[in-house]
Symmetry: none
Subunit: 82 residues, 5 copies
């Protein structure tokens, strides 16, 4: 049963790390997008500047998810304990 | 019991990763939509610009859920440990 | 006991994925609706535009729940491990 | 013990899915109602429009709980594994 | 089974620490980006200053994640108990 317990924990861990990361990233992007739409509505002329700033920010958030993805990949295919 | 424990953890993991991702994505979209409706109410002329910016943002959020979906598919049909 | 453990995890997983998705979707819709009612109160003339934008957003949120429903259906009736 | 484990997980799952759904729906409706009462207080003339928009939104939230109820009914009376 | 239990807990711990860290960092970045886009919309001439301040802040948030990464690396490859 020994190794199986470690594998089970790894599988559950992959799900938790990606689940939590997606949870945060989607809420964070929602907050960023909400403010951007507000500003576009108030000042439609600034749409291009706002959208470019917004996408830079959204990409930063996606970049953070790479940490979580790296852990998921390590646990699934490069697990040092299995 | 060995492999079954891993499979049980995988199934539970699939549920957790999609559950958390949907939890975040729906709250995030709610926040984005709430601000967009506010701005449409204040400045109905800007509705087209606001809606196009909003849908770009909502699509970014849906795109993030693909990370979670990828993990779910891997755990269900390409599980490296089963 | 082997397969039963997997089935038990699947059943629990179905409940968790739909529970979390509903948790997020209802809070998200509540946030969106709250802001829409505010704007209708301030500017009743814009009610039609606001309601059409709001329903598009609410439908996007319901659409996200289809991810969770798909997982629930897969775990209940198309479980690859049972 | 086999089937009993599945039944125990189903019972726990029913409780979790309805519990989480109610948790979200009650918070979501609270947010929506709070903003609506605020706006009625500021602008009592708009009460009729605000209340009609609010009730549409609250019904959308209740509709989402039907997903959770469906899962609860399936797990209790149409459980494919018992 | 002794050591396996410790390893299983370590694996789960890695997932939890990175998952929670990403959860916080992404929401935090979303809040920062939202306010930055707002200010760019109000005063597009200040875009360069705002973006440079924003990126410093976002890098600080990423820097904080190094604490969580350090713990993950220690648990995976330098675990003192395994």
């Amino acid at each position: 049963m020994g190794v199986d317990l470690v594998v089970a924990a790894s599988v559950l861990g992959v799900a938790l790390v990606i689940g939590m990361a997606t949870l945060g990233a989607t809420i964070g992007q929602g907050i960023a997008v909400s403010r951007a739409t507000e500003v576009i509505g108030k000042n439609p002329n600034a749409k291009k500047e706002v959208m470019s700033g917004l996408f830079l920010g959204l990409l930063m958030i996606v970049a953070l998810m790479l940490f979580a993805l790296a852990i998921a990949v390590i646990l699934l295919w490069m697990n040092p304990f299995v």
